[in-house]
Every structure is written in C-alpha cells, then in structure tokens.
C-alpha cells in the first residue's frame, strides 16, 4: 500500500516535471507571462510531490514497513530511531529520492523568491531545473526505485551500512553534501537561461551569484564534515585520502570558487561573462560526474554504493547535459559580449584572472588523477590506481600559489596603478609573513613548502585583516562613533565584502593548518599489555584494560587508556591504579572496536584528545586478550581545519544575506578607496 502510493507520487512527479519543463521553455521562447505563471505552478507541484514522496518513505522507515523494498534493504528493528531516520540517505535508492526532495525544495524556493523578478530569464531557468527534476524523477521511478514491493515482507532488515551508524556526523554530512551538490542545479539553470536569452545583464548577476554562493557554503561545510568524519571514524589518522569520491566533492567546489571570483570581475568590469557562465556549467556537470562516480560502481571508494543499472542512466544524463552545455555555449557565448576591458595585468582584476587560471589547473589536476585509472583500464586493460604521491606533488604547488594570490590579489588596487602605490600596497604585509615564518621555524618547521605556506599565510592574513576592517577604519577616521560605524560599515553596507574577507581569513587558516598538520605529524605503533605504558610526543599512555558493551545495533570492545604527563609526581594516585604511567593524569581515552550485526569485520572508532595546539590520536590496531596494538598519532593544528572551514561557511553566509534596499539608508558617500565589491 505504502509502496504503491510512493510509486504513484513518483510517476506523477515525472509527468509534472516533464510537462512543466516544456511549458517553461515554450513560455521563454514566446515571452508569455501566462506561460511563466504556469511553469511556476508546475515547479511548486514538482516540489510538493517530491516532499510528499520523501515523507512517505520516512514513514515507511520509521514504521519498519519491510514490504517496501528500500526499507527491507536498509531498515532494521535493531537500530536506534536516529539511524532509522537517516537511513533515507544511507543507500542508493533512498539517496536519489533524498536528492529529488532537495531539488524540489531548491526549485520551489528559487522560483518563489524570483516570482516577480527577472521575467526574461525565469522561464528558461525553470525549464532547465524541471528538466533536471524530470531526470531524477525518472531515475527514482525506474532504475533506482525505492518503492518496489517485497512479497512476502521480510521479518527484519540488515540496517544501514555500519560505517554510517558509527558516528553522529553521518547525520549532517550527507545532507550538507546534497544541499551543495543539488544546489548547483540552480545556478546552472540561471546560466543556461542567460545563454538561451543571449544576455547577461547587471541585474541578473545578483541572483546568479547568490544561487552559486549558497550551495558553495553547503559544499564547503560538507567537504569539511566528510574529512572530519573520516578522521574521527576511520582510524587511519587522516582526513583526506584523495579517494575518488572525496575528489568528486572537491571538483565542483573548485570550479564554483573560481566562478564566484570571476563573477566579481564580471560585475566590476563587465568582462568574463562567457567564462563565468562556463565555470558555473562546469560546476553542475562535475556534481553529476560526482554522482556518477558514487553510484555507478565504476570507482573504488569507501563511498561506493552497490553496482546498479543507474550508472548507465546517469552517464546518459551526464552526456546529455554536457552536450546541451557545449552547444549552448558554442551558439550563444558570443552574445554575452564584454562591456569593458581589463586595463592592467598587475591589478586586482589581473590577479582574479590568475586566480581563475590556478583554480582551473587545480581542477584538471584532480580530475586527471581521479579518472586516470579508468583511462588506463579503457586503453590498456590494466588495473592501476593513482595515489597520494601524485596528488600531493601536483596540488601542493598549486595550493601554495593560490595562497600567494590570496595575499597579493586583495592587496592590489583595481585598475592601473603606479609603481609607488603598488609597492606601498605590497610591501608592509611581508613583515607579518616573515614573522609567521620565524615563529614556524622556532617551533621546528623545516619543510620548505610548509615554511613557504607560513610566509604566504602570514602575508595573506595581514592583507585580509587590513581589508576586512578597512571600511570601519575609514569611518572612524572620519570621526564616526565606533558602534554605528561597525554596524553600518561592516555589516550593513559592506556585508558582502566583509563576508568575503571572513571566507579568506578561514581559507588562510585552513592552508596553514593543512600544511602544518600534515608535515609535522608524528606517529608510533606500539603493543601494550594491560598495565603497561609508553611515552610518545610528551604524553605517557597507559593501557588500563578493556570493557565489553552491548548496544542494540552493535557490540563494542572499549579499550581504556590513561594519558598523563611524564615526569610529574610519580604514582600520583590518579593513573588508574596500574604500575606504569605515573605523572599527572590529563585525561582518559577510549578508542573502541565495534562489531555490527550485518558486518563481519569490526570497525574501529579512534579516540582523539584535542587541545588548541594539537590532537593526540589513539586508534586500536588489534585487541587480543590482555594486549592492545595501538597507533598513536600526534598532529599539531589539525583541529584548526574544522573551525576555519566553518568560518569560511559563516563568511559565505554573511555575504549571502541580501543587502538592504539602499534607498532608506541615507549615509554620506564613503571614501573612494573603499571597494564595495565582496569576495563573493
């Protein structure tokens, strides 16, 4: 019954989205306001059906209705409620349905926000969105149907993939990723609309940029959460493995970041229109490529869903969208003619161009590394894999160059400048860069790339900070009071700009933290018998024993360790009553091995003791009787990455909040040196 109802909703959404797309394109071609109204209604109807279908699936999951095939695949009466709820996106069919759900909400919300605006572009945009909606509805109705019936219904199911049950981050990482991925459909629709209309006016830049920035924020957070999850759960002590699917999430992020930057030049100088539109299209295409990677079974990855017929279907969609984009660009790119030109290479806009170049190089590097094994297999029939050495060797220089630009770009003024002005802008931040370099050296950094990162990072931090608070300083100089100046200059008028520099500040910290944590990490593998201890990286680790814990969905073996500072008063009474250790007890750590019913191999959960400066990471390699084989990793600054990426997301959100209508904020024109642009 539930299954039948679900199937009905999906079929209805196929019909609604297809019809809606036709109506919308026709309305665009004929410039029919009535047609636009109808296409809007179809957009809302599509969203309604998707939301309803997802609701039906959640209902089936929560009520353990095993007659619905998806519930039989991922449900279980043995798992906690939160696991049941998030099971929606734990497996192939459900995740595609969830995709449709988010797509529906995005389409409806964007249609509603722009219901009375941009009437020239909206029909084509809605048509493009609903075409994507039609594809995903078709996917849900056919190759990835979660609403098939199982007769007779099984008594119980296996529960979702244990890895997903292993950490609470799994509740937020996939939805964030989908919000980022699916959200790229919206700027893609806007870009397609601009090309179909053959025009990209100033007024349309705002929705275009906002629609790109929102999924960018989600994608940024999602990538970080994925890394954090890998770090907290997988137990190998890293957060990024250049896994094909990690790369798949990074690729659209890189092109979207490039597009956010080129859009600023487009706004300021009226150039790079075709380029920006191409980057936006590439971002969407890369999300589809990423979806293909995860769901076709072609790539070997921790993220892989089981093989299925949806691989070819997504590939056909990818090919169709690629072709659509190429033809659209080929026929219309010349109609988006430049209104201005770039006057000087050594200027802010010049640096934007170089920035774009590096982002594109970065994208190609990662893309080539990701698909190269497939190319080799297709051409030579041999299996191979591209690993960390390639990516590190290629990406580190490009990343360092981007960090350099992150400092130099915003330091340079727009347009032509003379040598003296240029030096005055470029030289002072060198001092901060040098200080960062010296501090790093004093702390023992010897890796050349890391030292370079510190130099550029210090430089960029100086520039970013100066630029971030420039409007406020200028207001104060003019004699304004601090609080109103702060609110008006930073948060009201200069919000986009301020948000952009907050993103930059986060990015600087991320660069430095990645460089330091990856080159300064030390690790040790050791086997301890109960009561024994070892000293590593300033702490004494004492193995105090194990404990078994039974939970409904898993059996866990928890190992207990005391972490203490060596050299303190020996036998301080707090070291767990064991012989080893001594010193002052700092904390206890409990890494564990979890055995899930549906999986034969146990999955470890490492324990992490984080301080501001560093993480102390304990992971169980094996447990046998009284012996524990453990991996201890000492990683400086790694925790900074999560916080800094979050800061980038916050910055993006600040930039995203629409500016107030300028008409009722009567403020004297600010000094001409203030740039009203934002980074995003």
């Amino acid at each position: 019954m539930t299954a039948t109802f679900g199937r009905f909703l999906i079929l209805a959404s196929v019909l609604v989205s297809t019809t809606g797309a036709f109506i919308a394109y026709a309305a665009g071609a004929k410039r029919s306001p009535e047609g636009l109204k109808w296409s809007q209604r179809f957009a809302y109807a599509f969203a309604g059906l998707m939301v309803l279908a997802t609701g039906v699936m959640e209902y089936a999951l929560i009520t353990h209705d095993f007659s619905v095939q998806y519930v039989a695949h991922v449900g279980s009466t043995q798992v906690p409620l939160w696991v049941t709820i998030v099971s929606l996106w734990s497996s192939l069919e459900g995740s595609i349905l969830f995709w449709g759900f988010i797509l529906g909400i995005y389409i409806a919300a964007t249609t509603w926000v722009n219901r009375n605006q941009h009437q020239d572009y909206m029909p084509f945009a809605i048509g493009t969105w609903l075409s994507c909606g039609a594809f995903f509805s078709f996917l849900i109705a056919g190759p990835a149907n979660p609403f098939l019936s199982v007769v007779p219904a099984p008594l119980d199911g296996p529960g979702p993939n244990p890895l997903l049950q292993n950490h609470l981050l799994m509740i937020i990482h996939p939805p964030m990723l989908y919000l980022g991925y699916v959200g790229m459909t919206i700027p893609f629709g806007f870009a397609a609309a601009a090309l179909l209309r053959g025009r990209l006016g100033q007024s349309f830049l705002r929705p275009l940029r906002a629609s790109l920035l929102l999924p960018w924020v989600f994608l940024t957070i999602a990538i970080m959460l994925g890394g954090w999850w890998a770090y907290e759960v997988l137990g190998w002590g890293g957060y990024w493995a250049w896994d094909p699917v990690e790369n798949a999430s990074l690729l659209p992020w890189l092109t979207a970041t490039a597009a956010l930057h080129s859009a600023i030049v487009m706004e300021r100088r009226g150039v790079l229109k075709g380029w920006t539109v191409t980057l936006i299209q590439a971002s969407f295409l890369l999300t589809i490529l990423g979806t293909f990677m995860t769901r076709s079974g072609v790539f070997n990855s921790v993220h892989s869903f089981t093989q299925s017929a949806i691989g070819p279907t997504i590939l056909i969609f990818l090919a169709a969208v690629l072709l659509f984009s190429v033809l659209l660009l080929a026929f219309r790119i010349d109609s988006l003619e430049a209104e201005g030109r770039i006057e000087s290479a050594v200027s802010r806009e010049g640096m934007f161009l170089v920035n774009n170049l590096f982002f594109v190089v970065f994208t190609f590097t990662v893309l080539v590394g990701t698909v190269f094994p497939l190319v080799v297999e297709a051409v030579k029939g041999k299996q191979m894999s591209v690993g960390r050495p390639y990516f590190d060797a290629m990406v580190v220089p490009v990343g360092t160059a981007l960090l350099f630009l992150l400092g130099v770009g915003p330091a340079l003024p727009w347009g032509k400048t003379n040598r003296k002005e240029m030096l005055r802008a470029l030289l002072p931040p060198l001092v901060t860069g040098a200080i960062a370099l010296v501090i790093g050296y004093a702390f023992g950094v010897r890796n050349a790339w890391t030292l370079l990162t510190l130099l550029f990072g210090g430089y960029a931090a100086h520039v970013t900070f100066a630029q971030m608070w420039l409007p406020l300083r200028q207001r104060l100089k003019k004699g304004d009071a601090f609080a109103p100046a702060l609110i008006d200059a930073q948060l009201r008028r200069g919000r986009r700009r301020f948000g952009g520099y907050v993103v930059h500040a986060g990015a600087v910290i991320v660069f430095v933290a990645i460089a330091v944590s990856s080159t300064m990490r030390t690790q040790q593998e050791v086997t301890l018998t109960r009561g024994q201890s070892t000293t590593f990286a300033g702490y004494t680790v004492t193995f105090t024993g194990t404990e078994e814990r039974a939970e409904p969905h898993r059996q866990s073996t928890i190992a207990h360790f005391n972490i203490s500072k060596p050299g303190g008063p020996s036998g301080g009474g707090t070291s767990g009553g064991s012989s080893g250790g001594g010193g002052t007890l700092i904390t206890t750590m409990e890494p564990r091995m979890n055995q899930y019913a549906a999986m034969r191999e146990p999955i470890g959960t490492p324990a992490v003791y984080s301080t501001i400066g560093r993480d102390y990471y304990l992971s169980i390699m094996n447990l046998q009787g009284e012996q524990a084989g453990i991996l201890i990793i000492n990683m400086p600054m790694v925790g900074w990455i999560w916080g800094a990426v979050l800061l980038m997301g916050v910055g993006g959100l600040i930039a995203l909040i629409p500016a107030r209508k300028r008409t009722y904020v009567v403020v004297p024109e600010s000094a001409p040196t203030i740039d009203d642009e934002a980074i995003a």
Binding site: A72, H73, S76, V150, P152, P154, L155, D156, G157, P158, G159, L289, F292, S296, G297, V298, F299, N300, S304, Q307, G311, P312, L315, L318, A319, L322, L323, S325, V326, L327, L329, A330, F331, I333, D334, V371, L374, V375, E377, A378, A597, A598, R600
Partner: protein, 171 residues
C-alpha cells in the same frame, strides 16, 4: 556560433563519455579468489534444520555447492528459491548452506517460511567464512568431486549462473 568552443567542447564530451562508458560494468572491488584451483578449506559444522553434523571431507565424490548467506541479507532472500529449486532438480549435486553472524531461531524461521532442500550449517564464530575469504553475502563456492574449488560467485545467482558455474565442477 563559436566554432572553437564547439570543437573543443565536443572533444571533451567525447573523451569523458568514452572513458566513463568503458568503465561501466566493471567492478573495481572484484578480485578473483586465490582459492580457485586449490583444495576447499575443510569444515565440520552442525546443520540447523536437521541436527546432523556435516564434514566437507565426507562429501568427496560429488560436486558440492557451498552457499554463504544470512537471514539479514536481502539478496539472499532473492536467491533462496533458485537454490532450493536447483537442489531438488539436481540430486547428484550436494548443496550446503553456511550461515554466519546469525541465530538458529532466525534461520529456522526463515527456512520454515521459505522451504529448504539441503543442509544449512551454522558457522557460529565465522571461522569458515574467514577460511574461504568471504567478502559479502551471498557468496557461493563450487567444489568439484575431488574437493578442489573451481569457481566462486559473489552476489545472488539465478539458475543460469548457478548451472554455468556448476558445469566447471563437472568437467
């Protein structure tokens, strides 16, 4: 129309689609079992449904199909009727089910509801599955009359797949 964009674009499309298409249908996680051509790891396990103890060594002389499965595995539900039907049609072939990570109660419920035609053994500590290097369920090993593993199949089988693999054991 911008010819450069068109030509470069079409080339990019063609390359990407070709490479991805060539990769379709290949399982990156598939690795051939090193056990093929080697003697099957022996096991002696108790049958859940009949109570008898089965020793793999004693089954020499006829082809044996060892099917690893579990009641929590949905593809195993799909595969079960195929196995039962073939076991009934092929009296000269010994079918053996090995269940691991499971309880006797659940297995008996499963078999009572879905029928059985051959011994189902409980691999209580999973040692047999480890010996065979089982990577997931269902997974089926085909053993020839002299006790050598001749084929392995991952995932649920239909009758055609089952018979094609069985033919290797009869050769």
């Amino acid at each position: 129309m911008n010819r450069t964009v068109l030509i470069i674009g079409i080339i990019i499309v063609a390359v990407i689609v070709f490479v991805l298409f060539a990769g379709l249908g290949k399982d990156p996680q598939h690795i051939d079992s090193p056990l093929i051509g080697k003697p099957a790891p022996p096991f002696t396990l108790k049958a859940v449904n009949t109570g008898q103890t089965i020793d793999l060594q004693s089954l020499r002389g006829k082809p044996v199909i060892v099917n690893f499965w579990a009641t929590w595995c949905v593809p195993c539900y799909e595969e079960h009727p195929t196995l039962v039907a073939n076991a009934r049609q092929l009296p000269d072939v010994q079918f053996v089910g090995v269940v691991f990570n499971d309880t006797e109660d659940k297995i008996n419920q499963f078999l009572a509801a879905r029928g059985s035609a051959y011994p189902t053994l409980l691999d209580a500590n999973g040692k047999t599955a480890i010996a065979y290097g089982v990577g997931g369920v269902p997974e089926t090993y085909f053993i020839n009359p002299s006790g050598i593993i001749v084929a392995k199949f991952e995932g649920p089988m239909d009758s055609d797949i089952l018979r094609a693999n069985l033919a290797k054991a009869l050769r």
